[in-house]
């Protein structure tokens, strides 16, 4: 490789193996519990899982004609945010012309549980009607984040998938011929992030050490241009604080060498995390290549080979710790994306150089072949079947390679080859190198890929060096130097947060764990939008205790044993309004990662 190596940077990147995603949404839920379980971000899913074909979340976010996200290549070959350059951004700052409304996501709601207990006695069973968490008014639920999950709504909804509209009759919705697969999405932590470019106050930034894209909550001024800037619609506007929020790649976990919450809890164990070394000086040119179909190849060229001694020297020269270089050499991302070339970027045509890549699904090809009387794991049959897969290659190509079917077919060929090659080995036959060669690989590589994709050991999936300055001994253990609740005015200091000076969102930001602590408390006593505890949210009730508002008041005199102050009765143990009730829970939450590992993980 004669190319000069410019400034080397490191990026923590992710690969998801779509063949294994069962669409269980565990990742979304655990992510939400960890990060967006607060008012103002009820509608926010840093991680969401879409059924494809489908409209996605927010609805039809891939329609860049309408939303104007990402970059556009100008006639002179330069890149410009599609929604307009700096001047246009400032001229339209008073009202963003391309801002999705809450209806494009969905209007979050709760249920009027109070009515269940306060309804007058009558013949009809009272119901809990939905109430908007935005306006507080009763509402009709018409849409939500996964309204078209599992092809619900059939052709009527899925036909509005922008890709379906583009490739037209190749996609079938008749029951016998329908296909679907799941696409889990988080922020791509792009190498050329258009959200960052769109932020007028410079509050969004790409971290120099690990490439994680973050919003500085103290610098964000609520200009909400980033929401438009991101073509993946992965920056969200917190409507309570008036600040943008986005996936953080769980940086507090990644910094100590732990995988993100979505990865850790993924039921299919299909997520991989690792370091990519790249040449930042090549990013601009690569993102601006003329033909959209060359973007995939161009991005691969930006990645550097960590086994190349010259790259290693350049990395050390540019201040990357040796630990990180060593980690990059073991990176599953490098193997899957660059060496085996089975992972593909999502929508490279947005020109943001996304860093969460996907191994496209092979769909139930083996079963389909076997049912039609063929040997479903025979290499020849498999290769031939790829062109007639239920999931049209064209559809995958629109997602991953700007419409170029070539690379997608190559990947599917490799996945098919892996099946045939490994079957022979499993059956005790001689390995057949020709199967590997036909797919452009070697037998050794196939076996390595098999280890990574099929066995998918924890330590192979997640190769994350700890952050600079954090001791290797910390790996996997979050130990708090101080109590996370010990901030000024926090519960650990005897305070309970209290009134904020300029409305509920002002004052100093609280650590997420503290917010979760308060949210838990508040939610256990209320499902109102923000007001005092009135109603009770059944979803947060663990069956213990007597949350206020859930049951009719008891006559205190008749049951002295229940007097809350004097003798905590048995069913009061978990009563949410006790000061110390939820605290151990909150603490446990802040440390969960340390324990999660090992839970049911086969190593």
């Amino acid at each position: 490789m004669a190319q000069r190596i410019g400034k080397v940077m490191a990026q923590v990147a992710m690969v998801m193996n779509l063949d294994k995603c069962i669409g269980c949404h565990t990742c979304s839920v655990t992510c939400k519990q960890a990060w967006t379980n607060r008012s103002g971000v009820e509608y926010v899913w840093f991680n969401n899982v879409e059924t494809r074909p489908g409209q996605g979340y927010p609805r039809r976010h891939e329609d860049q004609e309408r939303w104007q996200g990402g970059w556009k290549r100008t006639a002179t070959g330069r890149l410009k945010p599609r929604a307009g350059g700096r001047l246009k951004k400032l001229a339209t700052i008073f009202a963003n012309p391309k801002m999705p409304s809450i209806q494009d996501y969905y209007e979050p709601w709760t249920y009027d549980y109070e009515h269940l207990v306060s309804a007058p006695l009558g013949d009809d069973i009272p119901g809990a009607r939905p109430r908007s968490l935005i306006s507080g008014e009763p509402m009709q639920i018409k849409w939500s984040a996964n309204w078209d999950d599992d092809l619900a709504g059939g052709e009527e909804l899925a036909a509005n998938d922008p890709i379906v509209q583009k490739i037209g009759d190749k996609v079938r919705f008749d029951y016998e011929q329908a296909f679907m697969f799941y696409l889990p999405r988080i922020c791509e932590h792009c190498l050329n992030p258009s959200c960052v470019a769109a932020c007028p106050s410079g509050a969004m930034y790409k971290r120099a050490e690990d490439g994680i894209v973050l919003v500085d909550q103290d610098k964000c001024r609520g200009w909400r241009m980033c929401v438009t800037g991101c073509p993946y619609k992965k920056v969200y506007f917190n409507h309570k604080t008036g600040k943008a929020e986005k996936c953080t790649l769980c940086y507090p976990r990644v910094e100590v060498g732990m995988p993100t919450v979505c990865s850790e809890t993924c039921v299919g164990r299909l997520r991989y995390l690792g370091v990519i070394l790249y040449d930042v000086e090549r990013v601009g040119r690569a993102a601006a290549v003329k033909d959209e179909k060359d973007l995939y190849e161009a991005q691969l060229d930006v990645f550097l080979d960590p086994d190349d001694p010259e790259v290693q020297a350049a990395a050390i020269r540019d201040g990357i710790p040796e630990r990180w270089v060593a980690s990059a050499r073991r990176s599953p991302i490098h193997l899957l994306a660059k060496r085996f070339r089975v992972a593909l970027p999502l929508h490279p045509e947005y020109r943001t150089m996304p860093m969460v890549w996907y191994i496209p699904p092979l769909s139930p090809v083996v079963d389909a072949l076997s049912e039609s009387g063929h040997d479903g794991e025979d290499a020849g049959n498999l290769f031939a079947a790829i062109d007639t897969l239920r999931i049209p290659v064209e559809y995958l190509a629109e997602l991953f390679t700007a419409g170029d079917p070539g690379p997608v077919k190559d990947v599917l060929g490799k996945l098919a080859a892996m099946r045939s090659y490994m079957r022979r080995i499993n059956l005790g036959e001689e390995p057949d190198e020709s199967i590997a060669t036909a797919a452009g690989m070697t037998g050794a590589d196939i076996e390595r890929m098999y280890r990574l994709l099929a066995l998918a050991k924890y330590d192979d999936r997640y190769v994350i060096p700890t952050a600079y300055g954090v001791d290797e001994a910390d790996r996997g253990v979050i130990d708090e130097i101080g109590c996370s609740l010990d901030f000024e005015g926090g519960p650990g200091m005897g305070g309970m947060g209290g009134e904020a000076p300029f409305g509920e969102a002002s004052g100093r930001p609280q650590p997420a764990s503290v917010e979760t602590f308060h949210a838990l408390r508040d939610r256990q006593t209320s499902d109102g939008r923000s007001g005092p505890a009135r109603r009770f949210n059944l979803l947060n009730w663990d069956g213990n205790g007597r949350p206020p508002g859930l049951f009719p008041e008891r006559d205190q005199k008749n049951s002295p044993g229940r007097d809350q102050k004097n003798s905590p009765g048995p069913d009061q143990k978990n009563s949410p309004d006790r000061q110390d009730g939820p605290e151990p829970e909150a603490r446990r939450n802040t440390r969960d990662g340390g324990h999660l590992r090992g839970h049911g993980e086969s190593k």
Partner: protein
């Protein structure tokens, strides 16, 4: 009319109190509440009306602000020196002022109507917002009143004080630390009212959402698109609570 004690308090002392509150309050807010420093955009809730009302209001207001700067800071002698006659000056200033003022008022009226009638936007409106709107609208109304009174006076040949001989010299004198109380005392009631409401608005400014105006992101024009930042940058103690060891 010689200045009374009240005049000295209002035009000699109050401006400095307001300046102290404005500067001190802004510094304090910036140190203490950087997280609360935002436009608190309500566009997520409602976009259709906002897309008309907000630009109309803000662009109108920007013209009004420029008008104030020109009217208050540029002495009459300067414009005389370059040969702009009083008549020319006033016709331009009053007509431009009236148009900008009415635009701003229309914009804010629509904004307030939207705020009141749109459920989600209304429930996101704090008491702080309401007080701010009250004073802001009052300031705009009083300002428009002075403009209209001056215009009517100009047309009918009647007598309205020329603010460039009263309010403006006083305004500048405040910054020379030698407040010309007599000049302001000579101004008409409408100007005095507008100035007082204006002072109130400035005093409230740091404690409302209006602080977003102070962070108008002009330097965006001169910055590279992609921002890189190092993790090791020291967090400022005034904004970040003590946290775990690694952050």
């Amino acid at each position: 009319m010689s200045p009374t004690t009240l005049d000295y308090l209002l035009w000699g002392a109050l401006p400095y109190v307001v300046l102290a509150v404005l500067i001190g309050g802004t510094v304090w807010r910036y140190r203490y509440d950087r997280f609360g420093w935002t436009t608190r955009s309500s566009q997520l809730y409602e976009s259709r009306l906002l897309r008309i009302a907000s630009p109309v209001f803000h662009f109108g207001l920007l013209v009004v602000i420029v008008g104030h700067v020109v009217g208050l800071l540029i002495p009459e002698t300067w414009t005389d020196a370059v040969g702009i006659t009083d008549g020319m000056y006033h016709v331009t200033a009053l007509s431009l002022g009236a148009v900008a003022g009415v635009t701003t008022l229309g914009g804010i009226a629509l904004l307030i109507w939207r705020r009141r009638t749109n459920g989600p936007v209304f429930s996101a409106t704090t008491v702080n917002d309401k007080v701010m709107y009250l004073v802001l609208v009052a300031a705009i109304l009083a300002g428009l009143a002075t403009t209209l009174l001056s215009a009517v006076a100009g047309l009918t040949g009647g007598h309205e004080t020329d603010y460039r001989e009263t309010v403006s010299p006083w305004f500048r004198s405040v910054f020379y630390l030698q407040p010309d109380v007599a000049a302001m005392t000579a101004a008409s009631g409408a100007f005095k009212l507008h100035a007082l409401i204006g002072l109130t608005l400035f005093a409230l400014f740091p404690f409302t959402r209006l602080v977003h105006a102070f962070s108008a992101p002009v330097w965006y024009l001169f910055r590279p698109y992609v921002v890189y930042r190092s993790r090791d940058e020291e967090p400022t103690p005034s904004t970040r609570p003590i946290r775990r060891g690694w952050s």
